[in-house]
Chain length 110, copies 2
């Protein structure tokens, strides 16, 4: 095992879980915050900034790219990364839909 049984869950649940999962690592949070903060697109700066090996940063960027939350465009010999605004806003909505549910404490747990 070690294999998630995605087939027994609804597409929406799997999708939401994948979206949460990619944000479930401090390096990827830090990368996103850096990109958002600088507004400019960066790349190698992250290696200096975060203190992880270049291969590791590249791998995290790949995961973020795979979900579509960031995109990279080649600029000379470097690659410029930035937030994909459309995907970001879609994620925002999905997360809001999840978190804005009315959560009422039931009678058994006070």
């Amino acid at each position: 095992m070690g294999l998630t049984k995605t087939e027994i869950f609804a597409d929406e649940q799997n999708k939401l879980a994948v979206a949460f999962k990619v944000l479930g690592h401090p390096a990827r949070i830090a990368i996103l915050q850096y990109i958002i903060d600088k507004k400019a697109c960066i790349c190698n700066d992250l290696v200096d900034e975060l203190g992880l090996a270049q291969a590791t940063i590249s791998q995290h960027l790949k995961e973020l790219k795979n979900t579509g939350i960031i995109q990279g465009t080649i600029e000379g010999k470097s690659v410029c990364y930035c937030i994909n605004e459309a995907v970001w806003k879609q994620m925002q909505q999905e997360f809001n839909a999840f978190f804005n549910q009315d959560v009422n404490i039931s009678s058994c747990c006070k």
Copy 2:
């Protein structure tokens, strides 16, 4: 390796990542949705509902409990689980703080 280098990140980043991570599995999403939907506290129902082994459900519940997002109270021979409203609202705020940042597309990625 296989070990996240939490020491190089800010507490806030680690905390946020842990919160996202626990939601990064469809079974835990399904469990939360079930608890929220039924409003009543359940327990063994999840095994019938989700189609995962009892040991597996119990493990996922434990992870959710560890983050504080749900709580369980003993009721006779069963355990009643429900959302911890305070923790839920705190999570809501943290996630909103993260997602409500202004995200501007930079000049290099159009």
